[in-house]
């Protein structure tokens, strides 16, 4: 015979528990008793029903057919009135007894009704059930007056809903500021101003003396004597765990039904979950922890697993259209904490972090909640945050997609416990991947409850659309560092990581390999604009000693020769140096410079000093050369001064590391002697203008470059080139040539993110380009001076 399970309570926690239980073990014979005469519905969504933004029919979580399909007996509208824990049966309101093997109490909570005289008048009601919402909607005549008692989360959502129904709403709040459980005074005050601007009246601090009326409520009288007319009074003064059934059955109760880490009550075979419980002195009022408990209890009962409940951080969001509030953790600092506050009263923006030892322990976002997912991840992750302003969205281009930066395991939909990874999986399924929010909602249930994550889901859809052309789900950096590049970026910037070994330790296997370590080194360089700590042990020998290793273990030296232009003096010195160090070969390179081959490692610093020239970076993934023709300076066909522009361009770019080598060229006319249409980035003079090309190649593969834009002046050329290169530096995958990167994202998308991007985006790219450039120094001088041991032969005796 199947084991018999009785669930008392058919709310959100109860139904979630059943769903999970049947995933684990569908053999249970289950009976569910619910007080309300409906199948399980989404209580969190009632605010939206009240506001009229969704219909009442949409809040049903599981219809009768689901219960039938699972073989679950649903006794809706049938309260349980007694439990006999010794003989293991419950008694329902009709006097029937039902035996169980396991009993789960999910009796939820009851609205707290303060003992105010007149509370029994018609038109005074709490805000908890679908029927109460129906009742309110029926009474909500346009122009009639409503009073909401309590300016907490629920009270404000109720007030908003009634306002949307055309009522004239007054909120009465007991303390100095609204949402005082979640917000500090400044945020609460700002919120009040905004609500009043939306047409609600907020009175605080006030206390209600009594409700008056003839059978039906007509007015509210305050303790100071003020009288407020009211056709409807809604009491939103908090909730209390519903424990009477458990208490009468002799179970251990305090504020809630006391449970242990396995959600077991004091009676054998009796478990409890949700708003009715008390775990280690804590009770619960948000749906997220309740869902966690439901999933856990399904494991415990379904799999007989020994797992312990640990409350996780959960944040509050206010579901009022156009008024975004996100709050979690401490709203005011305790001794030893410090806070970061950004405030724009006129713009209705307030952002605050409370930190302890650089770990976020509290956060408030008002008005602009775009960084809420990142802040939420930081709050729940307990990670060290150094770049606090960035976490609050300062310094991030307004067009950027915060959803893209979320770590994979970040919970996007708190109500349903859906992570970014789950949503991305649904979107990127090889067959029939989700293409709309509705489809994501159907497949993952994300955004189906409170809906506050809908914009993130949209962001993820957009993000997937952007990356869809790669035809593969966001690849991980390496098997040693199994996180996507976007996540790595977020973690590096969010957790202030500046070395490869730190990255490997926090996001990888601690060791890494010869492929990922140089890649991570590059990402640190690019994303921190050069402000990172290089570790020679994680670099290829070329990058350790700034020369190109040859097959015999010697090195080659290529000094920079901007635009391929040299001087007799430089050539003389090169010749002398070649003699002095007995170089094996002097060779002209394809990029119009001179290569000195066969140099011993120990001779490198000496040779560089004798040359008196700077590194050409021919040995690394960086800006290589800007090849040029003689342009208008000498050529009788030239229409643009290609040499000057090539030199200026090389000066502007040199020293910057990139995902791969970048070969460039500037040519003075469409005869194209500098071959710019097969360069990673090339510039061509035409009559009266310059064309900029990107993504050309003539190496392992051949590709004709795409035209990026046409501009009039060399100054404009330099700006567009800086922006294009910086975009590639930030978004290119390590070892991805520009001629792979551009077709991967598509030339139109590349244009949209560079030449056609908004001024804010362009200014940000230019700023990061300049900051990176400001950190460049010539390695041929700097490295031997700083770490001469890199070049020494043998050890110190």
């Amino acid at each position: 015979m199947n084991r018999r399970l009785i669930l008392v309570g058919n709310g959100m926690g109860g139904i979630r528990f059943l769903e999970r239980l049947f995933e684990a073990d569908p053999t249970w014979a289950v009976t569910v008793f619910g007080d309300e005469p409906h199948p399980a519905y989404d209580r969190v969504a009632l605010s939206k029903v009240l506001a009229g933004s969704v219909g009442a029919e949409t809040v049903v979580i599981r219809g009768h057919d689901w219960y039938d399909e699972k073989g679950i007996r649903l006794e809706a509208g049938c309260p349980i009135v007694a439990i006999n824990t010794e003989e293991r049966w419950v008694e329902d309101a009709f006097g029937r007894q039902h035996e169980y093997d396991s009993l789960v109490l999910a009796t939820g909570s009851l609205p707290f009704m303060p003992p105010i005289p007149g509370a029994n008048l018609d038109g005074v009601l709490p805000f908890r059930t679908l029927d109460e919402v129906d009742n309110m909607i029926t009474r909500a005549e346009a122009g009639s007056k409503a009073v909401v008692i309590g300016g907490g989360l629920l009270g404000l959502e109720c007030a908003y809903g009634l306002t949307r129904r055309g009522m004239d709403v007054t909120v009465l709040h007991l303390t100095e500021h609204l949402m005082d459980r979640q917000l500090d005074l400044a945020a609460g005050t700002l919120l009040r101003d905004e609500l009043q601007r939306m047409g609600m009246r907020v009175m605080l601090p006030v206390s209600t003396k009594r409700f008056e009326g003839d059978g039906r409520v007509e007015r509210v009288v305050l303790t100071d004597g003020e009288v407020i007319p009211a056709d409807l009074v809604v009491i939103c003064a908090g909730i209390r765990p519903n424990i009477s059934l458990a208490r009468d059955a002799g179970l251990s109760v305090a504020k809630g039904i006391v449970v242990d880490d396995c959600l077991h009550t004091s009676a054998p075979h009796v478990y409890a979950l949700g708003e009715c419980i008390e775990h280690k002195g804590l009770t619960f009022g948000l749906v997220e922890p309740v869902y966690d408990q439901a999933a856990l209890l399904a494991k415990i009962i379904g799999h007989q697993e020994l797992v312990a409940y640990e409350p996780k951080f959960s944040a509050t969001t206010l579901k009022v259209a156009g008024l975004d509030v996100f709050a979690g953790g401490r709203s005011v600092p305790e001794i030893g904490d410090h806070e970061v506050v950004i405030r724009d009263d006129a713009g209705f923006i307030y952002k605050k972090l409370v930190l302890r030892n650089d770990v976020v322990v509290g956060a408030t976002l008002l008005g602009d909640v775009r960084s809420a997912p990142l802040v939420g991840a930081a709050l729940s992750g307990g990670t060290i945050v150094k770049d606090r302003l960035r976490l609050l969205g300062i310094g991030i281009a307004s067009e950027s997609n915060p959803a893209a930066e979320l770590p994979d395991l970040a919970v996007v939909c708190g109500c349903n416990g859906v992570t970014k990874a789950t949503i991305m999986e649904a979107i990127q399924r090889p067959e029939e991947g989700c293409t709309s929010r509705a489809c994501v909602a159907k497949c993952t249930r994300a955004s189906t409850s409170c809906g506050s994550c809908a914009n993130i889901v949209d962001g993820l859809l957009a993000y997937a659309g952007q990356t869809a052309s790669t035809a593969s789900p966001a690849p991980v950096v390496c098997t040693c560092v199994p996180v996507a590049r976007e996540e790595l970026r977020w973690r590096i910037l969010g957790e202030d990581i500046r070395t490869v070994s730190q990255v490997l330790k926090t996001a990888g296997d601690g060791v890494g390999c010869h492929r990922c370590r140089p890649a991570i080194n590059y990402y640190l360089d690019a994303w921190w604009c050069g402000d990172y700590q290089e570790q020679p042990a994680s670099r290829h020998v070329n990058d350790r000693v700034h020369a190109n290793v040859q097959k015999d273990g010697t090195f080659s030296v290529v000094p920079r020769m901007r635009g391929g232009i040299t001087t007799p003096d430089d050539l003389r010195r090169i010749a002398d140096v070649a003699d002095k160090y007995k170089v094996g070969m002097v060779k002209l390179t394809g990029g119009q410079r001179i290569d000195l081959l066969g140099v011993k490692k120990a001779d490198l610093p000496l040779m560089w000093a004798d040359l008196g020239m700077i590194s050409g970076h021919a040995y690394t993934k960086a800006i290589r050369t800007v090849k040029s023709c003689v342009g208008t300076e000498w050529c009788r066909f030239g229409v643009g001064d290609s040499t000057s522009l090539a030199v200026a361009m090389e000066e502007m770019l040199e020293g910057l590391y990139c995902p791969h080598k970048v070969k460039l060229g500037v040519t003075g006319c469409p005869r194209n002697c500098a071959e710019v249409t097969i360069k990673d980035l090339g510039v061509m003079a035409i009559v009266g203008a310059w064309e900029i090309y990107v993504g050309g190649a003539a190496g392992m593969s051949v590709r004709k470059a795409d035209l990026l834009c046409t501009v009039e002046t060399p100054t404009q050329v330099l700006e567009e080139v800086a922006i294009a290169i910086q975009r590639y530096r930030e978004e290119g995958i390590y070892l991805e040539r520009m001629y792979h990167y551009v077709p991967r994202v598509g030339i139109d998308a590349f244009k949209a993110s560079t030449v056609e991007a908004s001024e804010v985006v362009r200014a940000g790219l230019l700023d990061r380009f300049r900051r990176s450039k400001a950190r460049v120094s010539d390695p041929w001088q700097a490295v031997p001076a700083r770490e001469p041991w890199r070049f020494e032969p043998g050890l110190t005796a």
């Binding site: 060791v511 890494g512 390999c513 010869h514 370590r517 570790q535 020679p536 042990a537 994680s538 670099r539 290829h540 020998v541 070329n542 350790r544 290793v549 097959k551 015999d552 273990g553 490692k601 041991w789 890199r790 020494e792 032969p793 043998g794 050890l795 110190t796 005796a797």
Partner: protein
């Protein structure tokens, strides 16, 4: 009989960055990873690359020329029939001594 040869000061051998020493006409690559020092033949048996210039990843050094993976403890070279010689290392009073 094996004897101990002085290779140099431990302090001049940097974590994860190899170094070549010559003892008795033999080229030997030294590596320091964590609290251990390894000594192996200096050149990769595949194409003669200087292993000391390779990147050290855990117990493996990756040859800078063609990314052969050479095991520091055993001298084994992955996907290659010939390995490299390994030498015993003693660190005494800050000095690296090799048993040859």
């Amino acid at each position: 009989m094996a004897t101990l040869h002085r290779a140099g000061l431990l302090s001049s051998l940097h974590e994860g960055v190899g170094q070549v020493v010559e003892i008795d006409g033999k080229e030997i690559a030294l590596f320091r990873t964590g609290d251990r020092v390894f000594a192996i033949g200096a050149r990769c048996p595949h194409a003669g690359g200087f292993l000391a210039d390779g990147m050290v990843c855990g117990d493996v050094v990756v040859c800078p020329l063609h990314v052969r993976r050479v095991h520091l403890k055993t001298g084994e070279v992955e996907d290659w029939e010939v390995g490299v010689k390994t030498y015993s290392v003693v660190v005494r009073e800050g000095e690296i001594l090799l048993e040859l």
